[in-house]
């Protein structure tokens, strides 16, 4: 039996003991994961430094802070997320229990990526643990130091059998994909995404694919270009552009192109100094293969900022390109590097057209002061997410689903979405064996009369909420009319009036010429003008 088979088998056996069911045990594991991330901060930072030359602050900001937030949220909300969720009933199920019961799927495979090796591997793990699953964790072999640290240290904090870390390259991953899982969560490229989905198809395994794409960034000429360029520069060159939601390319009108170039140039200098190569908070390309790939993308475009590189260090300076068209090499694939092409368009119409001619990206960025323009871009394009007037930060809002559409992926996670994604929402109807008489309308022998009743009763939905509100309203109206009538009576008792005759109920005749006879329901009330309180004659 291979190492991979063994790990999956142990995880499944462990899951089947039912130990992940109680919420306390899930919270216990989540707390341990939190301890891991906080206690091992230095080990994690060192590994990321070796893999991506990311500074310690950078790692905390962009990797572990996020994981910590997700864990704390899951711990706080788990009881709420895992509770049965009641749903609307029908007329015939009014006395039954009808709810959706979130349940674990079983053994989940999480395949991480190399660009944020901790964030994109551990954040899905939070959802998996919270939902009560076992999880086989496969960190990317490309970020080999992080993978090693994960393999060595994670088992010291988490249940070894339930959450094994399985390292390895392509053959090991393929072997893993031959095993049967209850869900596969993959973060990476669309090419490998297709292979993962194909492998999953063999076992009818559902998948979540967090892929990438070319995320466009449109700058409206009438916005605050200085602020826009600051935010774009930050979003682009974080992690040396190796971010699935980095603004891949900029679209803007020719009239502001020079200004945009200039502003970005200034921001690069401000953030990364004159010599980013020596600056601690500027990273490196993950490996030589990607270095060469990115360098080749510059072919055919003009470098206006940066452009310098050092293969021995896998260093590429923050670079801005112009004279780029839709056909340029840099537009043929997701850049995933520190090259920012600027493409000129005649306005938002052309920008929208340009975007729609391409695959749906993970995110679309639009910078504009005009709400109308932003709303147009929202309405006329499709993407995983849309962020106006900033970059990346939608990732920080746990209540927003994070995921793609089309070639940028399927499924989503973060916060409750992660829990739901890795749960099975089981429909439950708890009936009693009583009230059998009511069921008779559905049993054969079928008659036209039964059919009539069945049509009316069997499927009719009732909105219990609305029913309750209507009842409350009726009660309110009843009480209000009582109050109004009583007030009316009090007012009337002070108003002189005469009636010649009056209606009498239940036998008692009253002849008074200056009194008001008031009939309320089955009571007759006589009001004396002389301010004697109303007298009930009959009840």
């Amino acid at each position: 039996m291979s190492r991979q088979q063994l790990a999956v088998q142990r995880a499944r056996k462990s899951f089947q003991t039912g130990k992940t069911k109680p919420l306390e045990s899930r919270i216990h594991q989540l707390r341990n994961l939190l301890r891991f991330v906080t206690e091992r901060r230095k080990d994690i930072a060192e590994a990321v430094k070796k893999d991506l030359s990311k500074s310690e602050h950078g790692t905390e900001l962009f990797e572990t802070l996020g994981v910590e937030g997700e864990i704390k949220l899951a711990i706080e909300k788990l009881a709420e997320w895992a509770a049965p969720r009641p749903v609307e009933k029908s007329l015939l199920t009014v006395s039954d229990e009808v709810f959706v019961h979130p349940e674990p799927l079983g053994v989940v495979l999480i395949i991480g990526a190399w660009n944020y090796p901790w964030a994109v591997t551990l954040q899905p793990l939070v959802g998996a643990i919270a939902a009560g699953n076992a999880a086989v964790i496969k960190p990317s072999e490309v970020c080999c130091h992080s993978a090693k640290v994960m393999e060595e240290l994670l088992p010291r904090y988490l249940d070894k059998d339930l959450y094994p870390v399985v390292t390895g390259g392509v053959p090991e991953t393929q072997e893993l994909l031959r095993q049967r899982f209850d869900h596969i969560f993959y973060t990476g490229s669309s090419t490998v995404g297709k292979l993962v989905m194909e492998a999953a198809a063999r076992n009818l395994t559902p998948v979540t694919l967090e892929l990438g794409g070319k995320s466009p960034c449109y700058i409206d000429k009438n916005c605050d270009i200085t602020v826009a360029c600051r935010r774009i520069t930050w979003g682009k060159f974080v992690n040396c552009g190796q971010t699935c939601i980095a603004p891949d390319y900029v679209l803007c009108e020719p009239s502001i192109q020079s200004r945009v170039q200039e502003e970005i140039k200034n921001c690069i200098k401000e953030f990364y100094t004159d010599d980013p190569k020596t600056f601690e908070d500027y990273g490196r390309i993950i490996n030589k293969r990607h270095f060469k790939r990115i360098m080749a993308l510059m072919e055919g475009s003009t470098v206006v900022v940066g452009g310098d590189s050092d293969e021995s260090q896998c260093y590429i300076a923050p670079t801005v390109l112009k004279n780029v068209t839709g056909e340029s090499k840099v537009m043929k694939e997701e850049i995933f590097g520190p090259l920012l092409p600027i493409i000129t368009v005649s306005g938002v119409d052309e920008a929208i057209q340009f975007i729609n001619e391409r695959e749906k990206p993970l995110v679309i960025y639009v910078f504009s002061n005009e709400n109308k323009l932003i709303k147009r871009v929202i309405a006329e394009t499709s993407s995983g997410a849309l962020l106006a007037n900033d970059c990346l930060v939608h990732f920080t809002v746990s209540s927003l689903p994070f995921g793609g559409v089309g070639h940028s992926g399927m499924g989503c996670y973060h916060g409750r979405y992660g829990f739901d994604q890795l749960s099975h929402m089981r429909s439950c109807l708890i009936k009693q064996l009583k009230m059998e008489g009511v069921n008779s309308m559905r049993y054969p022998p079928h008659t036209a009369k039964k059919l009539g009743w069945a049509r009316f009763f069997l499927l009719k939905q009732i909105n219990l909420g609305r029913l309750r509100r209507m009842m409350l309203l009726a009660m309110f109206v009843g009480v209000a009319s009582f109050v109004v009538q009583s007030l009316y009576l009090i007012v009337l008792s002070h108003v002189p009036a005469t009636y010649e005759s009056f209606k009498c109920i239940k036998g008692t005749e009253v002849k008074e010429s200056n009194s008001i006879v008031y009939q309320r329901w089955d009571q007759v009330i006589v009001l004396q003008v002389s301010k004697v309180p109303a007298m009930k004659l009959s009840g």
């Binding site: 609307e88 559902p206 499927l459």
Partner: protein, 468 residues
């Protein structure tokens, strides 16, 4: 005759023209669909009778009324379903607008099965239309009369540019699957589901699979045998057992079995009379091939037939049949029966029964009959299935509030009511930031520092935060 690719191109052009986006358009199409069902109820009933000898009552209830119910649900709720959902924010994003927008996926494919050829094609269609997609509809060729009717009616009532029916058998379906769709909704068998998934993987197309499985029915503890028998017979032999959520087999103790069998016999007579083949209320097996398959199972079983067993090949008729003394490795336990044969396995303890069900693939539905709530609770907590229903069968799928779908080999994804709308939508996260507070943003820009980090920790507080 239009080729498949011409159909798809037409639908894609229509989708890109954004005609399906406005709520008014979707309402009109759903209303037209409602008219289609109302105006043609008789034809629908006749077609279903031709295909499955489906009794009028069953056709109305499970193919007409349930569809109308879903249409009412969609029309009543469409406005609220289409509304953006505003979400909670952290301190750093308090002044921003954050919401989730439901957007159509594009051109979707719905492949229907033959057992409830109207319901299982039209109910997903309702979700797809409500969500603003264009739809390619592929009815099952096995239920040929309904296939003909749907092909005739859909273009009469729905926009021809946005919704098209594509017909054919396995070959045509395989060709259809080579095209790129934005979602594929498939109801049917596991074998074909694998083919669908493989085809979808090529284009990274998300899929909803509504499959089947052997739905167990456990009967333990104190049980009102007569009431249980009524509901069991109704749900098992509805559509001659050809329901993905029919109770497939029963697990109970010997004593329960001994009480149950005469009750089942009596109920069958009450429902269908003494000569069931003459009753207008019993369906037939859909094709000779399936009839032969079922008879094969019956012939190979090592159990004892205690009720029914009669059959008529020409009529594609198999009597409601109960088989006892069935062992775990019996022919009747090999595959999903999907017919009017009810095996009863005698297992004394509830725990042993639960254990047995755990050795099998996760089914679409799980049933338990018991007057004791502790028994029901135990089964619920120690099993996994698409849906769960105690003390009745099938009816849980008639509630639009409940998500209808499988898990494991019984499928993934779900629909009905709001869930159908969500199945065919993309949940797009939208965040609209302002231009102010750029000073606050300075916390995140390089050069990084401990001080900046601690401020950031506070503003993007743990309640709703992860910062990248």
């Amino acid at each position: 005759m239009e080729s498949q690719s011409q159909v798809l191109e037409r639908l894609r052009t229509a989708f890109e023209s954004r005609v399906t986006i406005p709520e008014k358009f979707r309402r009109t199409q759903l209303t037209n669909l409602m008219s289609m069902i109302k105006d043609n109820e008789e034809q629908i009933v006749n077609a279903l009778h031709k295909d499955l000898t489906k009794p009028k009552f069953e056709a109305i209830l499970s193919e007409v009324e349930i569809v109308m119910n879903e249409l009412h649900c969609a029309l009543s709720n469409l406005t609220s379903w289409m509304q953006p959902e505003y979400v909670s924010k952290n301190l750093a994003t308090k002044l921003d607008e954050c919401f989730v927008r439901r957007e159509p996926l594009g051109v979707v494919l719905i492949i229907g099965p033959w057992n409830y050829p109207m319901q299982l094609l039209i109910v997903p269609l309702i979700g797809a239309i409500a969500a603003g997609n264009c739809v390619v509809i592929k009815p099952s060729e096995v239920s040929a009369a309904t296939d003909n009717l749907i092909t005739e009616l859909i273009p009469k009532y729905l926009s021809k540019d946005c919704y098209a029916v594509v017909r054919g058998g396995a070959k045509e379906t395989q060709a259809l699957l080579k095209n790129r769709f934005d979602h594929i909704f498939y109801t049917g068998s596991q074998a074909v589901a694998r083919v669908v998934l493989q085809a979808a993987a090529v284009h990274l197309t998300p899929v909803t699979l509504e499959l089947g499985g052997k739905c167990p029915c456990l009967i333990y503890g104190r049980v009102n045998a007569t009431a249980a028998a009524h509901r069991l017979v109704w749900s098992k032999f509805f559509n001659a057992g050809q329901s993905c959520v029919a109770p497939d087999y029963v697990l109970c103790s010997k004593a329960t079995c001994d009480a149950l069998v005469p009750a089942l016999r009596q109920v069958l007579e009450d429902f269908y009379g003494s000569d069931i083949q003459k009753s207008p209320d019993m369906s037939r097996i859909v094709t000779p091939k399936h009839w032969t398959r079922l008879m094969g199972l019956l012939n190979r079983t090592k159990g004892k037939v205690v009720v029914g067993g009669e059959h008529d090949e020409k009529d594609r008729y198999i009597a409601p049949t109960v088989v006892v003394d069935v062992a775990e490795d019996d022919a009747l336990m090999e595959e999903e029966i999907f017919g009017p044969i009810l095996p009863i396995l005698t297992i004394e303890s509830l725990e042993e029964s639960i254990k047995l069900t755990k050795t099998k693939e996760k089914p679409l539905a799980f049933y338990v009959f018991s007057d004791e709530s502790s028994v029901v609770k135990k089964v619920l907590e120690n099993s996994s299935s698409g849906g769960f229903c105690s003390n009745d069968g099938i009816v849980h799928m008639a509630l639009p509030g409940l998500p209808f779908g499988g898990v494991g080999n019984s499928g993934f994804g779900h629909y009905h009511g709001h869930w159908g709308f969500e199945a065919f939508s993309h949940q797009r996260a939208v965040m609209l930031r302002g231009w102010a507070l750029e000073k606050l943003n300075a916390l995140r820009y390089p050069p990084y520092s401990d001080e900046k980090l601690s401020w950031l920790r506070w503003t993007t507080s743990p309640k709703s935060c992860s910062i990248m």
